[in-house]
Symmetry: C2
Subunit: 306 residues, 2 copies
């Protein structure tokens, strides 16, 4: 009997991927941040998301990192790896690997090189992944991020996929930043676990029926976000909301990935965290200092202890 | 003694990739179109370009197809495979493989997922590829296609790469469609083999010092383009120019990849050519008929005999 995992909810983290000086993934630091995020209350780890520089990792690297996390004792059911790719066979291979490893779900970008394609082509892509993996344990979360992927996942496409694969299509991450669109998705698809991409919308989103959030800045404040969710509906939640919104408001004036890496490096005193893989480059010193000064001045302590 | 290949010039073709019904590359048809294009006078085969659905092929598939072409007798020095990728290790592996196979060059897209990155990050990407492959036979052609890659290759980046790797950076494909920009590049980098992406600009481009063209529609009129180049400077070239411009003008009202596939299918009577890999979908019947009617009415015969 195959165990069918529950749908994800709560705060999921698109975990920063640490790189060594030779640009290889730094497995020891990766395990460390994953364990810390779960200890802080993250419900899941959306490894290989946009914030993870996921598309700068090969399919082989992503599969190996999944195995290394599981071997290190990270519960596989807490993983929602990014397994989308421009080349369908890569997406199929990564999805199959994640499911075999026991991942609770996968977060799948549409193929993002060819622009302005028809829904039909994206349906075929997701459909081929689902059919070829052919495993009832597969829980697929659609990754809607038109600014990066240039391939929007339209409501019509969501509807068709849900109708065709009701037991597999489990949710959607909405990184569009279009809150009206997110609200419409939540209303239109009550059975779908919908995750906005910012913790600032969490209070409102939870009220509307969102499942939680998958947010870049959850890398630097997983605990406070988890506590907001736990306190949802109480006055305490308002306090957490103000606190996490303050931090998010500061960080979002910077490129998220390199700003979060800079913050982790500073808080842990470990400059290895600054390393990115091309085409990303670390945040320059002047902007780091500006960012740190703003964070220091806002009065919200960040507690990052990896 | 390692043979250093000459720079490419003339007409290069981003060869259409045929797919079987199971979405696997159709190797037999691929070899056939490659041989036909060379027989027609193509100087080189820019396999795995945008028109080739190259980014829908995995790194492993691209490497295997290079080997299969070479085994089939296609001269490796005539190949300029697309070896760019979002993940640096994929780009390195494909470039290394192409060079080892004897490819005359490689056409390298910048990593295209992360938007608005600094030149520094793209320099690091190209630099890592060149340093890691570390082979004097490597001739790298930069692939500038901001509409698709969302990562422009700026003149400053070209200059820095040329200065650092003068024996490796051999050329640039300019698919920007910004002819003033192309003219400036040709003027600024006289040692670089610059290829505009349309045969319509060939007459003017050759006069300015362009190396030739790498064009989607070279898949359907390689011979006429090669004859224009051979006749450059004579009255006959004008005739070829009018003829190829007529065809290009009609086809460019349609999505290039699926329109070219439809034309090849029709001219060869082989509907297997219609197959695409998701996210692309074949041109629908109504648009095919419209395209075919326009081509028939224009009076220019297409001679595609695979």
């Amino acid at each position: 009997m195959t165990a069918i995992p529950e749908a994800f909810s709560g705060v999921l983290v698109p975990v920063l991927t640490p790189f060594a000086g030779d640009l290889e993934p730094d497995v020891a630091r990766f395990k460390r941040i994953c364990r810390w995020l779960l200890d802080e209350g993250a419900s899941g780890l959306a490894v290989f998301g946009t914030t993870s520089e996921g598309n700068s990792l090969t399919a082989t690297e992503r599969c190996r990192l999944i195995d290394q996390l599981v071997e290190a004792g990270v519960p596989a059911r807490r993983l929602m790896p990014g397994t989308g790719a421009c080349a369908l066979p890569d997406a199929v291979a990564m999805t199959r690997h994640a499911v075999a490893a026991g991942a609770g779900g996968v977060l799948v970008l549409p193929p993002f090189y060819y622009k302005n394609q028809a829904d039909e082509g994206f349906f075929a892509y997701f459909s081929e992944i689902i059919e070829r993996v052919g495993d009832p344990r597969l829980k697929l979360y659609l990754y809607h991020f038109p600014q990066m992927s240039a391939a929007p996942i339209t409501p019509a496409l969501v509807e068709r996929l849900l109708k065709t694969y009701p037991d597999t299509v489990a949710g959607l991450k909405d990184s569009s930043g279009d809150w009206d669109g997110t609200r419409r998705l939540i209303a239109a698809f009550p059975d779908l676990a919908i995750f906005p991409s910012s913790e600032v919308r969490l209070m409102e989103g939870l009220g509307l029926g969102a499942a939680g959030c998958i947010s870049a800045t959850a890398n630097i404040q997983p605990g406070p976000i988890a506590r907001l969710i736990a306190a949802h509906g109480s006055a305490e939640a308002e306090d957490w909301h103000r606190r996490i919104s303050t931090v998010r408001g500061i960080v979002e004036a910077y490129p998220f990935i390199t700003a979060c890496k800079a913050i982790v490096a500073r808080q842990t005193g470990d400059d290895a965290w600054l390393q990115t893989r091309p085409p990303l480059t670390p945040l320059d010193e002047a902007r780091c200092n500006q960012l740190f000064a703003a964070l220091d001045a806002c009065g919200v302590p960040l507690e990052i202890a990896l």
